[in-house]
């Protein structure tokens, strides 16, 4: 039976030295951040913070130095990630590029693209958005219809991307377009492009989320021109590349830490000597948290060893998002206080933010159902 395999991960001493540096940096940078701000974590977009991370050498850590990277190990990168996420640092101005756009360009981009984009990403100067979903294509990503037609010197693009987080404040977007139409072969004929969202023919319309916040967008392409030099990889190789990119996206430690701020507020609330029920609730959450960290570390170890832990990463993401989504429910069941937007106690505000954000945890980067389908395939069921 084909199946997954997890081995205990181990961090080298160098990674622990680095951890101390990262903590010191974050303590200084975030000392004024409230629990509710920390709960936003990778919802927070702060270019100045990202530039400081870049200056420290903590973006593009594993990339070669010739592209502005730092030749560090995947495990050192892991330590930086888990520390920044555990601290609730506002990472989203560099996060997408560090996690997926940069690695994608490193793997499939042209030499000119690598030289142009990777050093700037590593300095924390370039924010990326991801253009995959469309109004009629969500989980069925291969059904996208936005077309890129060849014209002199490049491509003319028409269509609409949706749920494009931070497109309105990003410098570039990596978008998946259809370059060939053959209904029978929908996985073929897809191609990835680097798109400057400020180009003529591109309109970015905000989509306000249920909390009233703006991070989503609808990006409309009307005869927008994308130069040939901005194509990522070969024409028609988009599906394979996107699959690889989503595997990068899924493998990180962020997939269980989204609700850490609420667990911390819960512990503060129940006090040093909690009652039996409160203690059991806290203990159970910590048991899940500690286990997920080991699972996540195990995936990091496999990445470091040059393996391809796609299945294991999907398992960790599914278990992790289920956990982080459960935390506000568990806190509500124990304490029952009203969640708030921006009044009340820290606990109420963190609970309010996470209660309203939690539905997205099992949607972003591939729904729970899609992930479980990937796991089922790994088990040999499909």
């Amino acid at each position: 039976m084909p199946t997954f395999h997890f081995e205990l991960g181990e961090l080298p001493p160098a990674a622990e030295t680095l951890r101390a540096e990262v903590r010191e940096f974050l303590r200084a940078e975030l000392h004024e951040h409230t629990p509710a701000q920390r709960a936003r974590s990778w919802g927070g977009f702060d270019r100045e913070f990202s530039r400081k991370m870049g200056a420290r050498g903590w973006i593009g850590m594993t990339w070669p130095t010739r592209y502005g990277g730092h030749d560090r190990s995947a495990l050192e990168r892991y330590v930086v990630l888990e520390e920044t996420l555990a601290a609730g640092a506002p990472v989203s101005a560099h996060w997408v590029a560090d996690r997926q756009s940069g690695p994608l360009l490193l793997r499939f981009g042209t030499e000119a693209q690598r030289q142009r984009f990777l050093p700037a990403i590593a300095r924390g100067e370039l924010a990326f958005a991801i253009g995959m979903s469309e109004p009629d294509s969500g989980s069925d990503l291969a059904s996208i219809r936005t077309r890129a037609e060849r014209v002199a010197g490049g491509y003319r693009v028409n269509g609409t991307k949706v749920w494009t987080s931070n497109a309105h404040i990003s410098d570039y977007m990596i978008a998946l377009f259809r370059t060939q139409h053959d209904a029978a072969k929908k996985h073929e004929g897809l191609t990835q492009f680097l798109v400057d969202p400020k180009s003529p023919g591109i309109t970015i319309n905000p989509i306000i989320d249920l909390r009233g916040a703006h991070h989503f967008n609808m990006v409309v392409f009307e005869d927008a021109f994308v130069p040939e030099a901005m194509r990522v990889g070969e024409e028609g190789a988009g599906w394979k590349q996107v699959t690889t990119e989503l595997a990068f996206e899924r493998s990180g430690p962020e997939r269980y830490l989204s609700s850490l701020a609420l667990i911390l507020e819960l512990i503060r609330e129940v006090g040093k000597v909690p009652g039996e029920r409160a203690a059991a609730v806290v203990g159970r959450l910590v048991a899940h948290l500690a286990t997920l960290r080991q699972m996540s570390l195990s995936v990091a170890g496999m990445l470091e060893a040059g393996q391809n832990p796609n299945l294991e990463a999907a398992v960790v993401k599914d278990v992790g998002t289920t956990f982080e989504q459960e935390v506000p429910e568990v806190v509500h069941a124990l304490l029952g206080m009203e969640p708030t937007n921006d009044t009340g106690t820290h606990l109420q505000q963190v609970l309010g933010y996470l209660t309203q954000s939690a539905p997205s945890f099992s949607l972003r980067g591939g729904t729970r159902e899609i992930l479980r389908g990937i796991i089922a395939r790994g088990l040999g069921l499909r």
């Binding site: 199946t3 039996e276 806290v282 048991a287 286990t291 699972m295 398992v315 599914d318 069921l381």
Partner: protein, 351 residues
């Protein structure tokens, strides 16, 4: 996985696959002691993985023992292998010799005590311990009692107890042992063990057995889903079945990580936190996992004839033995709360 572990894994998997037959499992449930299987396991050096080679063991670590204990759970081996390993560890910690043959530990229940007393010119054991795993089958019982604020480990012959047999759901012996001045064969105080060492290390091995059991039921349910056909296709092609098995896979993976990490912590001589985490996390996985595996199997999995029940009945008992999820979660929650929210992350990241 290092070389010793790879070899151990091959040996136990081969041995258990060949020897733990349906007939053997059924006979064991009827009270028959699988002596030939015990002997084969002992001859392969698998009963004492932690004991130094100079003393007849395999000279391994808890990490090596994990391979044996989780495999015993995976194959639902009806023998006190986990108990023998814990008992041998307690004896080693006190610097005592480890006898051959099946061992068990007592007392296993919270708030029970077996008292070591000096009487008639020697050390003797008094008291009653309920639910002692494999009490009737063990050659020796290893007891931990607290004397003068220190844990004392004592070895007594199982024959020194009056045995009232009972079983757990899987019909593994869980007997009441009554000692009335039973002579202690050897005893020594040890600074290296907490007073709740039996419950702690008992919880540790049960977590590994359950993790193995979860692997087994995941494999059984997955295979069944590819073989059983309804509506003209294998039921594993239905999304509802796929989603259920993916959830089971997640719990099995979490269980394996939590248990293996606790064994690693035991090798650092600091297993309390990771064991509490493992017993709480794996116990939860056992309940959910068993439920999904049964749902996938349908009615056939609910029969005695099908092998699924050999594992699921063990999971239902093991998750409660040596403290259930709520007990360990409560202890864990108290220790976390006492340390405070500020240190939670740095504590976790250092483990």
């Amino acid at each position: 996985m290092n070389e010793l572990r790879a070899i151990l894994s091959d040996v136990v998997t081969r041995l258990f696959t060949e020897r733990v037959t349906r007939e053997l499992s059924e006979a064991a449930e009827k009270g028959e002691w699988p002596g030939a299987l015990w002997q084969a396991i002992e001859e392969n050096g698998l009963t004492l993985p932690l004991v130094p080679e100079t003393k007849g063991g395999a000279g391994g670590t808890w990490g090596d023992a994990y391979v044996v204990v989780s495999a015993a759970g995976r194959h639902a081996v009806p023998l006190p292998l986990a108990e023998t390993i814990v008992a041998s560890w307690l004896l080693l910690a006190a610097g005592l010799e480890v006898p051959l043959g099946p061992l068990t530990v007592a007392p296993v229940q919270r708030d029970e005590r077996l008292k070591l007393v000096r009487r008639d010119g020697g050390l003797r054991l008094d008291g009653t311990a309920a639910r002692v795993p494999w009490g009737r089958a063990a050659k020796h019982v290893v007891v931990v009692d607290e004397t003068d604020g220190r844990a004392t480990v004592a070895l007594v012959a199982a024959g020194g107890a009056r045995v009232t047999p009972d079983t757990n759901l899987a019909r593994e012996p869980r007997d009441t042992l009554a000692f009335a001045g039973a002579p202690v064969l050897a005893a020594a105080p040890t600074a290296g063990l907490p007073h709740d060492a039996v419950r702690l290390y008992g919880a540790l091995v049960r977590a590994a057995q359950m993790a193995g059991g979860l692997e087994a039921i995941l494999a059984l349910a997955t295979r069944y889903a590819t073989e059983r056909r309804q509506f003209g296709r294998p039921i594993g092609q239905f999304q509802a079945i796929q989603q259920g098995l993916a959830v089971l896979a997640g719990h099995a993976a979490a269980a394996g990580m939590a248990a293996a990490n606790a064994f690693r912590a035991a090798d650092r001589r600091d297993p309390w936190f990771e064991t509490a985490v493992a017993k709480a996390r794996v116990g939860e996985a056992a309940g959910i996992g068993a439920s999904i595996a049964h749902q996938v199997h349908g009615a056939i999995g609910f029969t005695y004839e099908h092998q699924l029940q050999f594992v699921t009945r063990r999971l239902w008992s093991w998750r409660a033995e040596f403290g259930g999820e709520s007990e360990w979660a409560t202890l864990l929650g108290r220790s976390v709360a006492e340390r405070g929210a500020e240190t939670l992350w740095s504590f976790l990241a250092a483990r």
